[in-house]
Amino acid sequence: MWKTILRRVVVMIPQVFILSIIVFALAQAMPGDPFTGLITPQTDPAVIENLREQAGLNDPIPVQYVRWLGNAVQGDFGQSYTYKIPVASIIGQRAGNTILLSLLSFILTYLIAIPLGMLAGRYNNSWLDKIVVIYNYVSYAIPTFVLALLMLWLFGYTLNWFPTSGSVDVTLAKGSMDYYLNKGFHLILPAITYALLGTTTIIQYLRSEVVDAKTQDYVKTARSKGVPEKVVYSRHIFRNSALPIASTMGYQITGLIGGSIFIEKIFAFPGMGQLFISSLTSRDYSVIVALTLLFGVATLVGTLLSDIIMTIVDPRIRID
């Protein structure tokens, strides 16, 4: 098992390198340099040239790449063109919100998907199963931004059940109980939207696994031993069927990243996805580069996690 995991980690190293080269190339193609915004038309060209020389912008590209990568590994992405503070601290302010939202969405996804998948599989071809299949089909087909907008319009504006923007009510004192409750309250609607979109694969998988398991010998044995039907499902079948679901966990991270751009924009939620869009609008390239690299690495790690979980739960794919 360790061999497989090690091999998988080794495969990831060139991937991270290629990703960093792509991002670096994109950064080179972007207009502007670290001094954009610091220079006024009155600045002497000689001073600019001197600054560029000192910052190493006249070095050969490979040298610049190595230096850039070294800085990036240490979390130094330079200064934001717009805010004039280090990029790392801007992202730091937003990262907490995105992680919190992703975590809640992640939990909600499984809370919704596992019962629905189990019930649909257990009572397959019943009306309940049909509803779950229809739900699954709609959640698969609907684009993220359409669902998010409809949710915001219906529950946020029309029914007034949830706040429509932001991550917390600014009037509340930081650290108080109300502050945290309010923060959680702001998270609910975007998290549910996320979760509804993430359930599709899990439900589909779980349902067909359970339907298949019903006729298997171990289930027949359990039944003939007199194990109550409820326990047959909650213990015997669930444990076997849930294994493939475990491997989807890492891929959920990938989905969350792509979705965060849409969800955070629509719910005006101050996270990294919204920062990405607003940086594009204000042409704050150093922030864009940092976020692209960060999200890229996060996706790679997500896929890695999926593969590792898979090798742990399923001995068949291990190599010896």
């Binding site: 684009p143 907008l149 915001l152 792509g258 594009l280 890229g296």
Partner: protein, 303 residues
């Protein structure tokens, strides 16, 4: 073992008469599944309606800004009301719908050509070529695609509809390549391919004239599902403002008017029709795709 089951299947077929082939299977599937039939009819009506409608209406007249009609509610003058510039929503819906559908078709077409070719090459040759191609595909698949497309779109000079189509295609051919490759891999080991090789048929001919037709049903299913996905991605990017250039309105552009809370809350006629049109299109295409998928797999057929 495999030959045995084949023989059994053949004898069964002989007992029950000739099994339906090709389009007959698909037709039977649609007759059996009324939902799929309704989805197909609705889809054809929508696409034909949008196409004809968008050529009948005058784009210049629709995009004409008249501030007097700003946010005119639906009524006699405007069937579905007007937007912030007093432009007819219904007309924009037709033009945006046409653009979104055409872009969806273009991207699906280009990604399929790349995907099928690479998938066939990887599956047919196998070995090292397959290994290299698959590593590249695996890598592209784990990239944060949406973000990279957006970044490409912002930094590319002379950005137009075609560059958008090509950028999107560059990232979305991998799924199809992977699917075709896995099928071509098993197909390439069959006897008819070996026989053809012994006869000296060129690899190119074997791949495209002999293996590809045997994969056609899977390819068609994948095309349909990709078409829906591509419309979703394009409208999503246009919604964010990083899709079609502003001179080419998309359904996503119409939905993006809902960025203003006032429009979202009080002027639903501006964004809701476009959202619903996207949703209905996606549901119909996917439903038809599912029916085609069942028709392609004899184990799942209803009819």
């Amino acid at each position: 073992m495999a030959a045995n089951t084949n023989m059994e299947a053949q004898t069964q077929d002989m007992n029950t008469g000739v099994p339906p082939m090709g389009f007959k299977v698909i037709a039977r599937e649609f007759v059996k599944d009324k939902g799929a039939l309704i989805a197909l009819i609705l889809l054809v009506l929508l696409i034909v309606g949008v196409m004809i409608g968008s050529y009948v209406v005058d784009q210049n007249e629709i995009m004409w800004v008249s501030l007097l009609d700003q946010y005119a509610p639906p009524g006699d003058k405007f069937l579905l009301g007007a937007d912030s510039g007093g432009r007819d929503i219904f007309g924009q819906l037709l033009i945006g719908g046409r653009n979104s559908i055409l872009i969806g078709i273009a991207v699906t077409f280009i990604t399929s050509i790349i995907g099928i070719t690479i998938g066939l090459i990887a599956g047919y040759y196998g070995g090292l070529i397959d290994n290299i191609l698959m590593r590249i595909i695996d890598f592209i698949m784990v990239l944060p695609t949406t973000m990279l497309i957006i970044v490409f779109i912002t930094i590319i000079p002379n950005y137009n509809v075609w560059t958008f189509v090509f950028i999107m295609s560059a990232f979305y051919w991998t799924g199809q390549a992977r699917l075709v490759r896995s099928k071509a891999l098993s197909e390439g080991r069959r006897d008819y391919v070996s026989a053809s090789k012994t006869m000296g048929t060129s690899s190119l001919k074997i791949m495209f004239r002999e293996i590809m037709p045997n994969l056609s049903s899977i390819i068609i299913v994948d095309l349909t599902l990709n078409f829906a996905a591509n419309i979703g991605i394009e409208t999503g990017l246009s919604y964010l403002g990083f899709g079609l250039p502003s001179s080419t309105p998309s359904l996503g552009t119409l939905v993006s008017y809902a960025t203003s809370p006032d429009v979202l809350e009080n002027k639903t006629w501006v964004w809701l029709p476009a959202s619903l049109l996207i949703l209905v299109l996606m549901l119909c295409i996917n439903y038809v795709g599912q029916a085609l998928k069942r028709a392609a797999d004899s184990k799942q057929r209803l009819g």
